[in-house]
């Protein structure tokens, strides 16, 4: 589980990317991104999600997203992310999504 805080933009996206990469390198395949404290996300930030989703799903894993603030959720929706990712309200729901199995997209 990774928690995002503040702005995820072109400045901070590379750092987020490295973090995810190191999680994957450590063998983790099921990632939950908690966006509870995320106040802004740019296309570059969303690009990080896209950069790993295929790789993770091919390995049988997934990324689930939870606790997204309405303003951020709007960006997810505009760019069509809710049809590609499981975006749920709370962390327990995200965990439950993994237990259900299955992948979106």
């Amino acid at each position: 589980m990774l928690a995002l805080d503040g702005f995820l933009d072109a400045h901070t996206a590379p750092q987020f990317e490295e973090t995810i990469q190191s999680e994957i390198s450590a063998g983790r395949r099921n990632l939950i991104i908690d966006c509870g404290k995320l106040t802004y996300i740019s296309s570059a930030g969303l690009g990080v999600f896209m950069s790993f989703i295929e790789e993770l799903r091919e390995a049988g894993g997934d990324i689930k997203i939870c606790s997204v603030a309405p303003k951020v959720l709007q960006v997810f929706e505009i760019l069509g992310f809710q049809s590609l990712f499981d975006i749920v309200d709370t962390l327990p729901e995200a965990v439950a999504k993994f237990q259900e199995g299955g992948q979106k997209g």
């Binding site: 933009d9 072109a10 400045h11 996206a13 590379p14 990317e17 740019s42 296309s43 570059a44 930030g45 969303l46 690009g47 990080v48 999600f49 896209m50 950069s51 989703i53 295929e54 790789e55 709007q74 960006v75 505009i78 760019l79 069509g80 992310f81 049809s83 590609l84 997209g105």
Partner: protein
């Protein structure tokens, strides 16, 4: 309006109208309308068409398999499918829609027709409202999309401004596009002569594109790959979006984004967005590369300065004063540090009548490596002078030592002279260096030369020791190829004849003046042409 309606009909009409008006969703409205109409009339077939982009298109079809939702309404087709009654929704000259009914159990009652007309009157305004709402929503979505594009460009612009690393530029461009279009497969490649190629890719491979300049140059601004040949030559999937990265002069890279997920396609506005982003990327790549070049240049300059200072320290601060000898030497470095070296070293004892070795050498390579090799040669010669008694032995051992301790591309040409100031007897070995000039007091000129390879090149002994004697008034000139190969603007060389002339003309002057006159003559000859190589001169004059 509904004067002929009984209470139950009026009630049903009111209820339907209320239901219709409670929704702004066109689909719900049409379904409700269809249910009501078919239910009231006990009809088995029904169709609903609404005006969309100027044409009436079928939206709902019931019990008529030959008619398909989405198609343009055609009256003959509808009639053939068993739709018997057609009602306009709204104004008859330009209806917002059309209701078709067929397969009634009996015939249509006048009251039912009237009821339907009344209901359609209400439906007309409700449908118009819902359509307007849909349009507004669509416009809103488009606006949101454009806004998001602008934000993405702005965010990327800020990110690119903060980096001078080409890899990071590619990373930001890739992430922004992947996020903007929700694609998991993408690649960014950028390349420039003299720069490491930049490649950032996920799920596709563009490592081969740098070699495909011609294909790349033929690409328009941004395009969808719909051509099998192009897809194959670039090894990317059909339906990918290709965006060349160009500066005003050249093609510097390519962005490829895989097909969008969930069957979405790239729109015209996406191509524009991609092209805009690529031009930002082009500037950022150029800046990053320029910065790298500047850094590398500064690094090189630093190294050259360091080499130059090492070299300066290796030259003797002053030359020893030897009996009956007037010795002067000078080295002038070219802009790029070369590897000339001169020295006068005592054989064993340092007295004015003790034998000394005179050296002029030209060391392979430039910069730090040449300076280091020079210091190795100096140390080797100093050590050997104390140990070995013969010049031939010194040259041979120096060759073996240098060959054994340095890489093959490190060697030096050298002219070595051992002179006994007491008698004027000299011996020399030429290790592939320029012949030296010996101008006798009589005016006779001898070129001193001998066989042999550069020191450090091969482990074999190839040298020969030769002897000559210096008498008062004789002048010996050792020099590097920077002297005879100095060029003028027409690429003509200074040559040994000019050198001889200058020495002859100044034979009466002290050695130091002769050295200066030679330098002046070279400069006058070269004019504005730059000095390519180090110039080194040593003049020894035998005095009475």
């Amino acid at each position: 309006m509904a004067t002929g309606f009984d209470a139950s009909r009026l009630e049903a009409l009111l209820e339907s109208a209320k239901l219709l008006q409670s929704s702004l969703e066109l689909d719900l409205i049409l379904k409700h309308l269809m249910r009501t109409a078919m239910g009231r009339l006990v009809a088995r077939r029904g169709l609903l068409a609404v005006r969309k982009q100027g044409a009436l298109r079928l939206n709902l079809v019931r019990g008529a398999a030959s008619l398909k939702a989405g198609e343009v309404f055609d009256e003959a087709q509808a009639r053939a499918a068993g739709v018997e009654y057609l009602f306009c929704i709204g104004n008859e000259s330009e209806p917002v829609g059309l209701l078709g009914i067929g397969g009634l159990v009996g015939t249509m009652q006048a009251e039912e027709a009237e009821f339907l007309q009344a209901l359609l009157g209400v439906a007309a305004s409700v449908i118009s409202n819902a359509q307007a709402h849909d349009e507004a929503r669509l416009a809103n979505t488009m606006l949101d999309q454009r806004l998001q594009e602008l934000r993405a460009l702005l965010d990327l612009g800020r990110g690119l401004a903060a980096t001078l690393d080409p890899e990071e530029v590619a990373q930001l461009v890739g992430l922004t596009l992947a996020g903007r279009w929700a694609v998991g497969k993408y690649a960014v490649a950028a390349f420039k002569e003299g720069q490491e190629p930049v490649l950032r890719q996920k799920g596709m491979d563009l490592s081969h594109v740098a070699g495909l300049q011609e294909v790349l140059l033929a690409l328009p601004e941004a395009q969808l790959v719909q051509n099998q040949d192009l897809a194959e030559s670039l090894k990317i999937p059909m339906g990918s979006l290709l965006i060349p990265i160009r500066t005003q002069e050249s093609q510097i890279g390519l962005i490829a984004c895989g097909p969008r997920m969930r069957g979405m396609s790239y729109r015209e506005a996406d191509l524009e967005f991609g092209a805009g982003l690529a031009s930002q990327a082009a500037v950022a790549f150029e800046n990053a590369w320029h910065f790298r070049d500047t850094l590398a240049r500064q690094q090189l300059e630093k190294e050259l300065n360091l080499a130059a200072s090492i070299q300066r320290d290796l030259f003797p601060k002053s030359l020893p004063v030897l009996a009956q000898c007037d010795i002067a030497a000078k080295n002038r470095q070219a802009r790029q540090v070369g590897g000339d070296y001169y020295d006068v070293l005592p054989f064993v004892a340092t007295g004015p009548t003790d034998p000394h070795m005179l050296v002029v050498a030209d060391i392979s390579g430039k910069g730090i490596s040449a300076a280091l090799l020079m210091s190795i040669i100096q140390a080797t010669l100093r050590t050997l002078l104390r140990r070995e008694s013969s010049l031939l032995e010194i040259a041979g051992v120096a060759n073996e030592l240098l060959h054994a301790t340095t890489p093959v591309n490190k060697y030096a040409t050298a002219f070595l002279v051992v002179m006994d100031p007491a008698t004027g007897a000299c011996k020399f070995v030429n290790a592939a260096h320029n012949p030296s000039l010996l101008l006798r007091a009589s005016g006779e000129v001898e070129m001193l030369d001998g066989p042999g390879l550069a020191i450090g090149l091969f482990p074999r002994r190839t040298y020969q020791e030769k002897s000559f004697e210096m008498h008062p008034g004789d002048i010996l000139v050792l020099y590097s190829d920077g002297v005879n190969e100095a060029q003028d603007a027409k690429d003509d060389e200074f040559g040994t004849d000019r050198l001889t002339e200058v020495v002859k003309a100044n034979a009466g002057e002290p050695a130091e003046v002769i050295v200066e006159r030679i330098f002046e003559a070279i400069d006058a000859f070269a004019g504005a042409a730059p000095q390519f190589d180090d110039i080194t001169l040593m003049v020894v004059k035998r005095t009475p």
